[in-house]
């Protein structure tokens, strides 16, 4: 295969090939292959989604009011995002207006997910790329305590606290049974934190594991459980009753007080633990402000979310827009219904189109399974050593906006908001850059992606308080409605309808497209964040965001792929989301379940 140039990257697959499969600490199954040159610099990167479930075809012919439950099961990590996109697309199709309280409760539940998911990502899926657990054993607990007290008022910071934790950690390591910390890259030269900072981070890894289960209780109060709370077309299922008989069977003041208390604790934890840790750790890894940028400095996309007013898309608190070729002076408008804007390609995906040079808008989505490997594949059909990226090589499709490969996610959202000059986004970015003493271009990097996620977590925690206060004002004024059931009965629906439900999942822009015919689902399509970011190549050979971000990264020890993990994890990949598609034409359709 020839070397070629695309999007400013020189692709060259002539060097040594490295395979990382599985990529752990993500949702689902992802395979990365790269070619290194003589200096161990990545000159070709291949991202392959290696799982696939077929949820869209399963939805066909079902009740649109049930779709949220099916699509919610696309992903249990970012639980609820597909459910919310789903109820929104049905409401869009049937022109259902939801009550103000339903919008506030949905925003609250969505805020909960931003906070919990970003927190778990930082500490449990990403931190071990930056924090050397074994090095923490060498720390002086007194030094850790001084460091912790210097950067935060968080009360769990005494030398005794860290000493006890270190002793527990020591016993654990000496046991020889390292569990999830086994066989990792401890001692890798790319780990830069002093032992004292490592010990602090390990302590917060454990504290965050304890705390994240508190945050989600807000979803449990309004949705009955977490993961996978319950949603409702037309509003939210939880009724409110403040004064009347039977209030204990509904959302009452005891429940609302619990929500308020969790919101306050959440703000405290994010402000006093996550953000100070993020800045402290980032200050040792400023070089990663120049690594892993990929498409982020060129093309980013956000659909927008958190409607301030119910049913009013002009009131999105996270703004919508697209930036092309790094021109922050112009934010392009995005229309999800325009057949020429969002299109999916399958030239390099394990699907079949009638004409594979062309892309298809989701409303025209055709998908046919086609698991074939290219002639340069090494290995066999069921034992693959190396994929052949000149042919089909992923279960992810390749979505493009006006033909451009785009990056989505927290950094994309904050870049769009920054470009629009919205103070609540622009000021925290400028402040963070000043604190770390790095220029604006450092934002478009592996480090920038991780930092934007932290800032967004903080934004969401404080916004939860805002939505909560508004909900309390409403109920105080006896505005109790949480659901609009005027169009609940399918007999009230038009014979045919179509709608789009969009949102910003923690991992990026997400939308569902639905066509309803004779009260049943006729077509259902989802284009999800990791399909954008993990996209394979398109007919023009343009690479996706994962692949672009890995390009030109130097690996210190290629057999220990820490650098690859850092950049891929900075996107927080979610493969179950990305690879759910299959059409009625799929060859594996069977009418009888194997039992």
């Amino acid at each position: 295969m020839a070397a070629y140039e695309t999007q400013g990257f020189k692709i060259d697959d002539s060097g040594k090939r490295i395979v990382v499969d599985p990529i752990c600490r993500i949702e689902g199954h992802l395979r990365i292959e790269v070619n290194l040159d003589q200096d161990n610099v990545i000159r070709n990167a291949v991202s392959s989604g290696v799982m696939w479930r077929g949820l869209e075809v399963i939805l066909q012919g079902r009740d649109p009011r049930d779709a949220w439950a099916f699509t919610e099961r696309i992903c249990g990590v970012c639980t609820g995002v597909h459910a919310l996109a789903s109820v929104r697309c049905v409401e869009d199709a049937l022109a259902i207006k939801i009550p103000d309280n339903a919008n506030l409760i949905r925003n609250l539940m969505h805020g909960v997910l931003y906070v919990q998911d970003h927190l778990v990502h930082f500490y449990h899926l990403h931190a071990l790329d930056w924090v050397d657990v074994v090095s923490a054993l060498k720390a002086d607990p007194k030094g850790t305590s001084e460091l912790a007290q210097k950067i935060s008022n968080w009360p769990l910071s005494s030398p005794g606290y860290y000493r006890e934790l270190q002793a527990r950690l020591k016993k654990f390591v000496e046991s020889g049974q390292l569990g999830p910390f086994r066989n990792a890259y401890w001692g890798h030269p790319a780990y830069k934190l002093p032992p004292e900072a490592n010990l602090m981070a390990v302590a917060h890894y454990l504290e965050a594991l304890d705390f994240q289960k508190e945050i989600v209780k807000i979803q449990t109060i309004f949705g009955g459980k977490n993961p996978h709370p319950n949603w409702l077309v037309g509003g939210v299922p939880a009724p409110i009753n403040l004064d009347d008989v039977g209030a204990v069977g509904a959302i009452n003041l005891e429940r609302l007080n619990m929500v308020g208390s969790i919101v306050a604790q959440t703000i405290e934890f994010i402000d006093q633990v996550y953000l100070p840790d993020l800045l402290a750790i980032a200050s040792f890894y400023k070089d990663w402000g120049a690594i892993g940028g990929g498409l982020s400095s060129q093309n980013v996309l956000a659909y927008g979310d958190f409607p301030d007013r119910a049913n009013d898309p002009s009131s999105l608190l996270i703004p919508r827009g697209a930036i092309i070729n790094g021109n922050l002076k112009e934010v392009h408008d995005v229309d999800l219904g325009d057949p020429n804007q969002i299109q999916e390609f399958v030239t390099h995906s394990w699907y079949k189109y009638p004409d594979e040079k062309k892309g298809l808008h989701p409303f025209d989505g055709v998908t046919e399974a086609n698991f074939v490997l290219g002639k340069n594949t090494k290995g066999t059909n069921t034992n693959i050593d190396n994929l052949d990226e000149s042919a089909k090589y992923s279960f992810l499709k390749a979505p493009r906006w006006k033909g451009h490969a785009m990056e989505v996610g927290p950094l994309a959202r904050w870049t769009v908001a920054y470009a629009k000059g919205i103070p609540e986004f622009k000021e925290p970015i400028d402040k963070t850059l000043r604190t770390l003493d790095v220029p604006l271009p450092a934002l478009f990097s592996t480090l920038g992606r991780t930092a934007a996620r932290g800032l967004e977590c903080q934004w969401a925690a404080h916004k939860m308080k805002y939505f909560y206060d508004r909900l309390m004002t409403n109920v105080g004024n006896n505005k109790l409605d949480t659901a609009n059931v005027e169009k609940w009965e399918p007999s009230s629906w038009p014979k045919e309808a179509k709608g789009i439900g969009f949102m910003e999942a923690p991992r990026g822009a997400l939308a569902h497209w639905i066509k309803i015919k004779d009260t049943k689902i006729d077509l259902y399509q989802c284009v999800v964040p990791t399909t954008w970011n993990g996209s394979p190549r398109d007919p023009e050979g343009k690479i996706g965001a994962f692949e672009a971000a890995l390009m030109n990264t130097k690996m210190a020890k290629p057999e220990w792929p820490l650098e690859i993990l850092r950049t891929i994890h900075s996107f927080d990949p979610c493969l179950a989301c990305a690879t759910h598609v299959l059409s009625p034409e799929g060859e594996e359709l069977v009418s009888v379940k194997v039992r």
């Binding site: 399963i58 209780k217 009724p239």
Partner: protein, 362 residues
């Protein structure tokens, strides 16, 4: 120098006296008699933590997310002191070759001693390549790791029944774990996902008592799946009194009446939601105003709309043989529910028509 179970219990603040008492109780419950206790104590003082290998097939990771929500024991305590979670691609620090190396090592070194927890399930379509890891079909990895496992835990409705990807028309030919692994003890812990504390309790039971909990005929722990949600639902008195929510957010909804008429599947769903509840007992679906969707039941996706009343038998598609049997069973259940509702209503009516009772208690 692995810490033994005894050391772990001591670290957790359990006294030696309590430890020995625990050993004799365990010996008694296992029918080993008094002489069994020292043997157990001996074993527990020298035995390393049980290795747990947690594999992920096609799934959504909601089971892992649920597991990390456990409040008793806390997940960090379970992972640091109860088990040795040696492989779990969602949480483990290693990746690629370094991750796969661990699997090989545990399978070889702890032959017949490790637990295999499976989240998700194997698709059989496209020669198993609808889910592949390390370049090979997941189903192969599952069979290989299962071969020398002591026992299997099938987490959630995916591993237990097939769940959403196996809903009709099951495009990837996905099957539950027990159809692929047939020669090992297997515990089903269904639910989408299962309740966090129930997951933790199953793990605790296995490593503490070193045996399988009592299972029902379907392979589920009787303790948590022995009764229907309806049996212990706090809204049950409203069902019995014939007080139902007719539409979401109506006056009856705000009073917390029974959700049966808006589709609640509590009467046919075996799970512990109405008793253990969710997220440290915070709530459960019915308490938050939505009917149970029956997520721990086999094929719950294919039993009609979540908002259809259970009595509506048109919801059960009569298509293939296996389904016909299922549908027939469901009709019986549906009829039973109807009869149940009728009896409750008759009881209510007759008590109304009975002579006025003393109001002393009101």
């Amino acid at each position: 120098m692995n810490p033994t179970f005894y050391e772990v219990m001591r670290q957790q603040g359990i006294t030696r006296r309590s430890f020995l008492k625990f050993c004799s109780l365990t010996a008694a419950s296992l029918g080993l008699g008094a002489e069994g206790a020292p043997a157990i104590a001996q074993a527990m003082q020298t035995k390393p933590r049980t290795p747990v290998l947690w594999l992920h097939g096609n799934e959504c990771t909601c089971c892992s997310e649920s597991f990390i929500r456990s409040s008793h024991p806390l997940t960090k305590d379970a992972v640091l002191t109860l088990i040795s979670l040696d492989y779990d691609d969602t949480l483990m620090a290693a990746a690629g070759h370094q991750a796969e190396e661990i699997l090989h090592d545990i399978v070889a070194k702890y032959k017949g001693q490790y637990l295999l927890a499976v989240e998700g399930n194997p698709p059989l379509g496209a020669d198993g390549m609808y889910c592949f890891q390390g370049g090979k079909p997941f189903v192969e990895k599952l069979k290989w790791v299962a071969k020398d496992a002591k026992a299997l835990i099938a987490w959630g409705s995916c591993a237990s029944w097939g769940c959403v990807q196996a809903a009709k028309p099951n495009p990837t030919r996905t099957v539950p774990v027990h159809q692929v692994i047939t020669d090992k003890p297997l515990i089903k812990v269904p639910g989408c996902p299962p309740i966090p504390e129930v997951m933790a309790a199953v793990v605790t039971y296995l490593v503490t008592f070193d045996k399988l909990p009592d299972l029902d005929r379907q392979g589920r722990p009787k303790a948590f799946y022995g009764q229907r949600i309806h049996d212990k639902c706090y809204r049950r008195p409203h069902f019995d009194a014939g007080q139902f929510v007719e539409k979401f957010d109506d006056e009856s909804a705000r009073k917390g009446y029974c959700l049966y008429k808006v589709g609640c599947k509590g009467p046919t769903t075996y799970n512990a939601c109405s008793t253990v509840r969710w997220n440290e007992g915070t709530s459960f679906p019915i308490q938050s105003g939505h009917g149970c969707i029956g997520c721990s039941e086999e094929d719950f996706w294919d039993k009609g709309s979540f908002y259809n009343r259970l009595s509506d038998i048109k919801q059960f598609g009569v298509e293939e043989n296996a389904d016909r049997v299922g549908a027939a069973a469901a009709v019986v259940v549906g009829a039973a529910v109807l009869a149940h509702a009728a009896v409750s209503a008759i009881k209510r009516a007759s008590s109304k028509s009975a002579p006025p009772q003393s109001k002393g208690g009101e």
